[in-house]
């Protein structure tokens, strides 16, 4: 769980949780929203995205439901669970702390 390689994976997880915190969405919409809100800076490969979605579902942070999509096809909609919301809070706090610390360190080096 705490391997350093999890950092990128973990980041994607938080981003997905955050996007789903706004409204339930299917995989395609999530990928579009991710590209859009990060101004194309963050782009996850489709494989990694779906793998992360299934992992989050497995962890019980999000749940899935089949519903008709905007183009009238059946799509799998993911939504945040109560435990997912808590996880998001935890991760957000962690991230804020971590980025503050890194920013602090980087500023130290400059000075």
């Amino acid at each position: 769980m705490s391997r350093p390689t999890d950092l990128v994976q973990g980041t994607l997880d938080v981003l997905i949780l955050k996007i789903l915190a706004l409204e339930p969405m299917h995989g395609w919409a999530i990928s579009q929203r991710l590209a859009q809100v990060s101004s194309d800076v963050l782009r996850a490969s489709e494989g990694a995205l779906y793998s992360a979605l299934h992992k989050l579902e497995y962890e019980g942070w999000i749940e899935a439901e089949w519903a008709p999509s905007e183009n009238n096809r059946r799509a799998k909609y993911y939504s945040l669970t109560r435990r997912g919301r808590k996880q998001l809070e935890r991760e957000t706090a962690n991230w804020t702390r971590l980025s503050a610390a890194i920013t602090h360190v980087l500023q130290l080096e400059r000075g």
Binding site: H26, W28, S45, G47, S51, K55, Y58, N71
Partner: protein, 901 residues
């Protein structure tokens, strides 16, 4: 817990509805892909390019799916799919080296099969508990005989009552006594005697057996109350076989020994009473015994000196059987003072039922232990073999595995594949082993004594034994396949394995292990073969020169006129008339009567005697010898020669001087160096007077595993009347031809006298002597052969493995001028030293085992002749097993060998 629930349901769903999950996964991916294509098309891309670009962006649908599957955890539907892949891969690999697979599977099959068969046989012979709930809580009461030996049973009814009322520790104590009586539905049916049990009313309660129909016995049925106690519970088999499973039998009347009884219940299926070997056909209250057995006095329930009862009790939970036994002994002391004379030196003891059975049938117990021991040895050899074979392959596979790890193969996955492979071997071997076991058990079903009262052995394949054998095989296969594989898959070893162009070096310790294993295999094989051969020789010595009496053209019929309540005079008249009628049958040469047929296995034929002038051990006033009560025609009919003096004469009757004949062995034992003629001996059980020896007859084989010269006593049946007797008829041609006329003669003499079975002496001898001989020798011999074959395969494998590992080295040696002969010697030496070590260990172990066995079965220890046959045989075979691959080494073409790899 809260965390677990959604995961579990997801996993469960994935596992149970794998097809649906796969479908959904597919749909989800397809949806994404379609939207991507739409997007690209909207950007102006050509349809074909859009599709290709979308797929590329996705990184392949299958990869995506695989990642999702992985995210769902290890035991999703994927698990089964991968297992199937592993199985397919395993099958491919195993079929690629059929020799290896065949030997490994056969080894496991033989080991598991031999073990399961032998355990099942031992279970049927001795270990299987009685078919009652909680058989472990049962205990039986034993007494000591005047000779000092312990018998289980032999109680009188008052003694049983005293035990039940005055000994603490039993939840309940029931009394039983074997009855032999005819069972018919109507008075004019032909009667055939069947075995039943007369029991105390609490019998079914103590055994916790509930009749499946009707009821058991009531407490009031302990005492005869007119005809009201004439009730019977039928065994399930009897109900089905004699009464066609007719439910209307309950509350109807049947006849036992011609006396009407009311059927009140049917015992459950599989319940055989208190004895496996003698299943009871019916159960009657003890009080009815005098009504159906003419030899039981009417007041026997109150007669302290009348024995013959067995007592089986259920111990209270937590009560030690030793405590109860002590209390029974205290009771015996009290009884000794209360009833002086009756209880001199008589003791009472209580043992667990299973212990008593093992003690009572110590011969069967010893045989069972030996068979299991041999089978365990075979299983060990088999496991060693499989381990050796797999370990031999491990280095060869090391590179394959290392390469797969290096290109990113999942280590766990690789391990799983190796485990699947070993499991495949084990499952195939186990399945084949089941077949072997069933075949072995079938051959043992022939091991049935011919008996007049329905003694039978019941052999069933025991699945616990199969499971144990299989577990051992799987464990050895796993350990030997997985341990090396685990080492190989560790990254640290990877570079070494890959860099090495030939197969990786095997550490010296490992080779030592393999050599040690082969040596142990050969040692064990030698032990098994030695035991097998010495048994064969012992049997051969026993039966090689025949039993000493006539076997061919003799017919046996056992009768018991006491079952129709004949008195002594009536019995004598009945037999005389029957003999006259039998002699009148065409082809009948002579007839005789005896109470004991040689090699008979049921019934106690022993008689207590005290030979005149022979010094008995201190504290003992009598000896027990095997005896038969015979008439004047018996010795002649069976061709047993009178060596000195005379035989039994028709004039030896109750009115004349009591006489006896002894065999040569008995004469030599009690009157060594003197003539036995005219000597006297006291025979207990009758009037206790002196009996004069008037003749010495030839020794015959009368019991299995006993020397010919074991003392045997013949008494004239008219002086020691016993109702039950076997009519021995000698015919001119095929004895069976006389069977039908003889039956007619019996019916003609008195249709009510039940026969206890008719068979030829040849069949009887075959079943009770040569058949056992054949089955046991064949079984042990087969195990010896299996052991040898397995050890051979092991040695061959070892040498072949060594050769394959050293091909490169041998090639170099040959290239620099090594001679084929010296190469042959080098490889052969390496293969043979474990064989030599194994032979030496085996000889030492065989001597030890031989001593153990000869302490149980006389004349069966390993001797010099056995060794001089077995040791060279194993040695020659070992040399051959090592020679074949060694020769291959000597023929190696250095050019080919060096180019290898």
């Amino acid at each position: 817990m809260a965390r677990l629930a959604p995961r579990l349901s997801l996993k469960l769903r994935t596992f149970l509805r794998g097809d649906v999950v796969e479908q959904e996964l597919d749909e989800e991916m397809r949806y994404h892909l379609d939207r991507k294509i739409e997007q690209l098309l909207a950007q102006g891309m050509a349809p074909g390019d859009a599709r290709r670009a979308a797929l590329v962006a996705f990184g392949g649908i299958e990869v995506g799916k695989e990642a999702c599957r992985d995210a769902r955890g290890f035991w999703a539907s994927v698990w089964i799919e991968r297992l199937w892949q592993d199985v397919q891969h395993g099958i491919r690999l195993l079929t690629k080296s059929p020799g290896f697979t065949l030997i490994a599977v056969l080894s496991i099959a033989i080991g598991v099969g031999a073990n399961a068969a032998m355990f099942s046989v031992a279970d049927g012979l001795i270990f299987r508990p009685l078919a009652v709930p909680d058989p472990g809580g049962l205990a039986v009461v034993g007494t000591t005989t005047p000779i000092g030996s312990v018998v289980y049973g032999g109680l009188s009814y008052p003694e049983y009552r005293d035990l039940r009322e005055r000994v603490e520790g039993f939840e309940g104590l029931a009394a039983t006594r074997v009855v032999l009586a005819s069972l018919t539905r109507s008075p004019n049916e032909v009667s055939q005697a069947t075995m039943g049990l007369a029991v105390s009313p609490d019998f079914f309660d103590v055994l916790r057996v509930r009749p499946v129909r009707g009821r058991g016995f009531l407490p009031v049925e302990e005492r005869a109350m007119g005809g009201r106690t004439a009730v019977v519970v039928l065994a399930h088999d009897t109900w089905v076989q004699h009464f066609g499973a007719d439910p209307g039998v309950v509350n109807s009347a049947i006849r036992i020994s011609g006396v009407p009884f009311t059927v009140v219940g049917i015992a459950p299926e599989g319940f055989t009473g208190t004895n496996h070997y003698l299943p009871s056909a019916y159960y009657v209250p003890m009080a009815t015994l005098p009504m159906i057995d003419g030899q039981v006095p009417a007041d026997f329930l109150d007669r302290r000196e009348d024995g013959g009862l067995d007592a089986v009790g259920r111990l209270k939970p937590g009560v030690a059987v030793e405590r109860v036994s002590e209390r029974a002994e205290l009771l015996a002391q009290a009884l000794r003072q209360q009833h002086p004379g009756t209880y001199d030196s008589r003791r009472l003891l209580v043992r667990r039922e299973s212990d008593a059975r093992a003690e009572e049938f110590s011969g069967l117990m010893a045989m069972s232990a030996m068979l299991i021991g041999l089978a365990a040895a075979v299983l060990l050899v088999a496991c060693a073999n499989v381990a050796g074979l797999l370990a031999g392959r491990a280095p060869a596979r090391a590179r394959e595995i290392a390469v797969r790890v290096a290109i990113g193969g999942n280590r766990l996955r690789l391990m799983r594949q190796l485990i699947t492979e070993s499991a495949l071997l084990s499952v195939c071997g186990g399945a084949l082993g089941l077949g072997f076991a069933e075949a072995g058990i079938r051959s043992f079903r022939a091991f049935q004594p011919v008996s007049s009262v329905g003694v039978r052995f019941d052999f069933e394949l025991d699945f616990r034994a199969v499971a144990v054998g299989l577990a051992m095989a799987v464990t050895s296969a796993l350990l030997s396949a997985v341990l090396p594989a685990w080492r190989i898959t560790r990254v640290r070893d990877l570079s070494g394995t890959l860099r090495n162009t030939t197969t990786p070096a095997v550490r010296a310790g490992r080779l030592w292990g393999r050599h040690g294993m082969v040596a142990a295999q050969i040692a064990l094989t030698l032990v098994v073969l030695t035991v097998a051969l010495s048994f064969y020789r012992a049997f051969h010595a026993e039966y090689g020169q025949g039993p000493g009496f006539r076997v061919d053209n003799v017919l046996l019929t056992t009768l018991n006129p006491s079952l129709v309540r004949y008195d002594d005079a009536q019995t004598d008249r009945f037999y005389q008339r029957l003999k006259d009628r039998a002699l009148a049958i065409p082809g009948v040469l002579s007839v005789g009567l005896t109470t004991f047929v040689p090699l008979n296995q049921d019934g106690n034929s022993n008689t207590a005697i005290a030979p005149e002038g022979f010094r008995l051990p201190t504290g003992v006033d009598r000896l027990s010898v095997a005896a038969a009560r015979i008439d004047e025609g018996y010795l002649d009919t069976l061709g047993i020669r009178v060596m000195r003096g005379r035989g039994i004469a028709a004039s030896d009757t109750a009115e004349t001087t009591p006489v006896a004949l002894v065999n040569q062995g008995m004469a030599a034992r009690y009157w060594p160096g003197e003539s036995a003629l005219g000597k006297r001996l006291r025979v207990f059980g009758g009037d206790g007077g002196w009996v004069e020896v008037v003749g010495v007859v030839a020794d015959i084989k009368f019991r299995l595993f006993t020397p010919l010269s074991t003392p045997f006593l013949y008494l004239p049946r008219r002086q020691y009347e016993q109702s039950r007797a076997t009519l021995v008829v000698r015919t001119r041609g095929n004895a069976l031809a006389a069977a039908e006329p003889l039956r007619a003669a019996i019916l003609d003499t008195d249709p009510n006298v039940p026969t206890l079975g008719t068979h030829t002496m040849a069949a009887f001898y075959d079943a009770n002597a040569s058949n056992i001989n054949r089955v046991v020798v064949r079984t042990i011999g087969a195990m010896g052969a299996m052991g040898l074959a397995l050890a051979l395969a092991g040695l061959y494998g070892l040498t072949a493995f060594a050769v394959s590992r050293r091909t490169h080295e041998i090639g170099i040696r040959m290239a620099v001028g090594g001679q084929p002969a010296s190469m042959l010697g080098m490889v052969l030496r390496q293969g043979l030293w474990p064989a030599v070590a194994g032979l030496l260990m085996g000889i030492a172990a065989s001597v030890a085992v031989g001593k153990l066995i000869s302490s149980v079965f006389a004349n069966t220890g390993a001797d010099i002749v056995t060794f001089s046959l077995v040791v060279p045989a194993v040695a020659i075979v070992s040399v051959l097993a090592a020679y074949v691959p060694a020769r291959r080494a000597a023929l190696i073409d250095p050019l080919v060998a060096l180019r290898q790899d």
